[in-house]
């Protein structure tokens, strides 16, 4: 695996989009988190907001950049036909997929950590000005708090799972525009579908099954009992989506001819 990893790392390192997209992950996440923190307020009469979730809300924007990074990692090669060179150099295609997944996971974890730390910092700076103070019983998020640390670390893991899900989807679909469309649909439109369902049982099930809804349950630190799914179980749903996408990708890589 060392050679495959080395090759994929060199490939990713020398693609000019990589640095831009990783910066976009950090900037979009932190900026959107800061914007949300700036627009919410806690009035004198008290509020019932989950400060950890508020402070990390920007991941909704940052995940788009993660998805693009992952999709381009494989669709970029299919689009140019370079994928044939890759599979000629490494005929064991599962290893290529594994190496890509490893490099992508590493980069996403790194960028995600920076993004989450920046978001928490922004929330700590902005929220007290909007009435979220420890004196009022609404301290701004702090990583020394157990549930907040779980929310922050879980958000980083969530981003990595979204990267893997996107990588798998892009390998299955090959075309970059289609893959981006499908991933955007999964991340942004699928969470809306439960709102369209009348039956409460089915609505709850669909909510639990949508990767963005369930995965981001990891950010919840208050009213955990009201959630249709627990934080770690929710992250597990996102992981199941990522695993299913990668498994599908691996199976198709094995049986499918490499299209030029």
């Amino acid at each position: 695996m060392r050679r495959e990893l080395h090759a994929e790392w060199t490939k990713t390192r020398t693609a000019p989009g990589t640095a831009w997209l990783l910066s976009a992950v950090v900037v979009l996440t932190a900026a959107a988190s800061a914007a949300v923190a700036a627009t919410v307020s806690c009035p004198e009469t008290g509020c019932d907001q989950d400060v950890a979730r508020l402070g990390l809300a920007g991941v909704q924007a940052g995940q788009a950049a993660v998805a693009v990074l992952a999709v381009l990692a494989v669709s970029g090669e299919y689009g140019t036909g370079m994928i044939a060179t890759t599979f000629a150099a490494v005929p064991r295609r599962g290893r290529v997929l594994a190496a890509k997944a490893a490099v992508l996971t590493g980069l996403t974890l790194a960028a995600g950590t920076v993004a989450v730390l920046a978001s928490v910092l922004a929330a700590r700076l902005i929220l007290p000005g909007n009435g979220f103070t420890a004196a009022d019983g609404h301290p701004p998020p702090s990583l020394s708090d157990g549930p907040t640390l779980r929310a922050a670390a879980g958000t980083v893991l969530y981003l990595a799972l979204i990267a893997l899900l996107s990588l798998g989807a892009a390998t299955v679909l090959r075309d970059s525009a289609t893959a981006a469309g499908v991933v955007c649909g999964l991340l942004y439109v699928l969470p809306l579908v439960p709102l369209m369902i009348g039956d409460p049982g089915l609505r709850r099930l669909l909510w639990q099954a949508a990767p963005a809804n369930a995965g981001l349950a990891i950010q919840t630190t208050t009213h955990l009992d009201d959630l249709p799914i627990g934080p770690w179980e929710g992250l597990g749903v996102a992981a199941a989506w990522a695993a299913a996408a990668l498994l599908g990708a691996w199976l198709l890589l094995r049986i499918r001819d490499v299209r030029a």
Binding site: G17, V36, T39, V40, C47, D48, Q49, D50, R53, L54, A57, Q60, A61, A64, A65, A67, V68, V71, L72, S75, G76, G79, T80, A170, D175, S176, A177, T178, A179, A180, G181, C184, G185, Y188, V189, P191, L192, V193, L195, M196, I197, G198, D199
Partner: protein, 516 residues
């Protein structure tokens, strides 16, 4: 073969034809558009068939019904009316001496009613001529309101402002309503001698014989509380208003004596006791009337555009097709062939935009044209009160969805030219159009932020599907979540088209300058 005379209109027509041939011969693109239509229709009908409603009346579940005004729109028509018959032309004059009332506030201690004295801004007291006392019947009225001055209103949607200011025992307000054929003129005066015209109205269906008299109404008090992550919950609470009238004078062929009706009152479970009744007392020509409710257009019900929830999913498919329509060519070098065949590259981009825009328009038209009428039919069959709109409005909603789809397709194509990478372009356009709309309407942002998103981003174009307008004379929580866009339909569409046009121009310029 390069034709050096591609300058003319024929040249462009040929380009469009070539791009159309390119589009329809790629199975994936045609399939993508079909997927878009299917998503819109399937999700729309799914959500319509999942939405059941029934309205309890005296313990009996019935389908929800709406009161329709003379214009066909849903109205609320509840007030206390003291009236007598008026034949043909004539006029009615009163002096309104005071307006007081009470408002129920949110319970501080659960279960204990908290009622305070006060009137809500749109509490109304005045004079009216109406086609009987049936709810929804045609009318014209001139009135004093608590915070919005004197108004002349008719047929629920018509509203003209007079002079500002309310009434109090020290400063009464005189009102006069004169009928001359089909035209009613409202006057106001501070002293009963010098009169100014507030406005005139021609109600749609006022018969020769009408009921003329005094009325009082007081709409419910609206309390908006912020939920988690900026979501809002809206509560409407009971209020009532009491006004004192004197100097009542009817001119013309008035018949009968003063009678009174609590128009539109609901009854308790026993079927006899009125719920929140109005009151009336007369002593020496002074009338004291207490009324509850409102005479105004109503938005309580399901809107036809709620069947278009799948539009966001369909738009993603359209975006993918539109982006691919250009990036697929750039990637495989076919664009060089295309540019050889048509050296004026800007025109190639224009032709592509025209083709993809037209295809998207057709797809949007087909999708919305099926979903809106069929979905509304399913909603009605499931007992939902669907807010009635005119055929023209329904057509506008469908055409608006088609225009929205077309403009988004052009925007996506242009972004494909500018960004070159399919994944980046698709995500960027989804982020510009779909995500702001979802953020603004799916209750995760404060109202102000949501409204600005729908003014400034291309998502403003979704306003094209709003079927029920916002009425200035009705206090409501006009949020994107409730289906109210901050911009009118055409203005919203114009913002989106502006973005699409700007992107298209940049794409044309960029294409002309850049190496293929």
């Amino acid at each position: 073969m390069t034709d050096h005379r591609t300058g003319g209109r024929d040249g462009f027509r040929r380009l469009v034809r070539a791009e159309w041939t390119k589009f329809r011969t790629v199975r994936g693109w045609v399939a993508g558009m079909a997927v878009a239509v299917t998503l819109v229709v399937a999700l729309g009908l799914l959500s319509a068939s999942g939405s059941h409603a029934s309205c309890g009346m005296n313990g009996v579940e019935t389908a929800c019904t709406l009161t329709a005004g003379p214009g066909g729109e849903a109205v609320s028509d509840r007030f206390f009316f003291v009236h007598r018959r008026l034949d043909g032309d004539g006029s009615l004059t009163v002096r309104v001496n005071s307006m007081t009332g009470q408002i129920r506030l949110p319970d501080a201690v659960p279960g204990t009613r908290r009622v305070v004295a006060g009137v809500v801004p749109w509490a109304k007291a005045g004079i009216m001529v109406k086609d009987g006392v049936r709810q929804g019947a045609s009318y014209a009225a001139v009135m004093v309101t608590a915070r919005h001055g004197v108004r002349m209103q008719h047929d629920f949607t018509g509203d003209v402002a007079g002079t500002p200011g309310g009434v109090s025992p020290g400063s009464p307000r005189w009102l006069r309503l004169t009928r001359s054929g089909g035209t009613l003129t409202g006057y106001e005066s501070v002293d009963g001698r010098r009169w100014t015209v507030v406005g005139t109205a021609r109600p749609a269906a006022l018969p020769a014989t009408v009921e003329a008299g005094m009325f009082v109404a007081s709409p419910g008090d609206l309390t908006v509380s912020r939920g988690d992550l900026g979501g809002a919950s809206v509560q409407v609470r009971f209020t009532e208003a009491t006004a004192v009238f004197d100097q009542v004078r009817v001119e013309g062929r008035a018949g009968g004596t003063w009678s009174h009706d609590d128009v539109g009152v609901a009854y308790e479970a026993d079927g006899r006791t009125p719920h929140h009744p109005g009151r009336f007392a007369e002593a020496g020509g002074t009338f004291t009337i207490t009324g509850v409710g409102d005479i105004a257009p109503s938005a309580e019900g399901t809107r036809i555009e709620s069947t278009l929830t799948g539009l966001v999913a369909g738009l993603i498919a359209v975006i993918v097709v539109a982006v691919s329509f250009v990036t697929a060519e750039q990637r495989r070098g076919l664009i060089r062939t295309t540019f050889l065949a048509a050296p004026r590259r800007g025109r190639v981009v224009a032709a592509k935009a025209l083709v993809v825009g037209a295809v998207a328009f057709a797809a949007g038209l087909a999708a919305a044209g099926v979903t809106v009428p069929v979905g509304a039919g399913i909603l009605r069959a499931n007992g939902n009160a669907v807010l009635p709109v005119s055929t023209l409005t329904e057509l506008r909603v469908v055409a608006g969805a088609a225009m929205l789809t077309a403009a988004v397709a052009v925007l996506a194509l242009a972004c494909g030219v500018l960004l070159r990478r399919g994944a980046a372009a698709v995500t960027a356009v989804v982020g510009l159009v779909v995500v702001p709309h979802i953020l603004a309407t799916a209750s995760v942002l404060p109202l102000g932020v949501a409204q600005w998103l729908l003014r400034l981003t291309p998502a403003a174009g979704f306003a094209a599907q709003q079927s029920v307008p916002e009425y200035a004379q009705v206090l409501g929580y006009y949020s994107p979540q409730g289906g109210y866009y901050p911009l009118p339909p055409l203005a919203g569409l114009a913002v989106l088209c502006g973005y699409a046009a700007l992107a298209a121009v940049l794409a044309v310029v960029r294409t002309s300058r850049r190496d293929a």
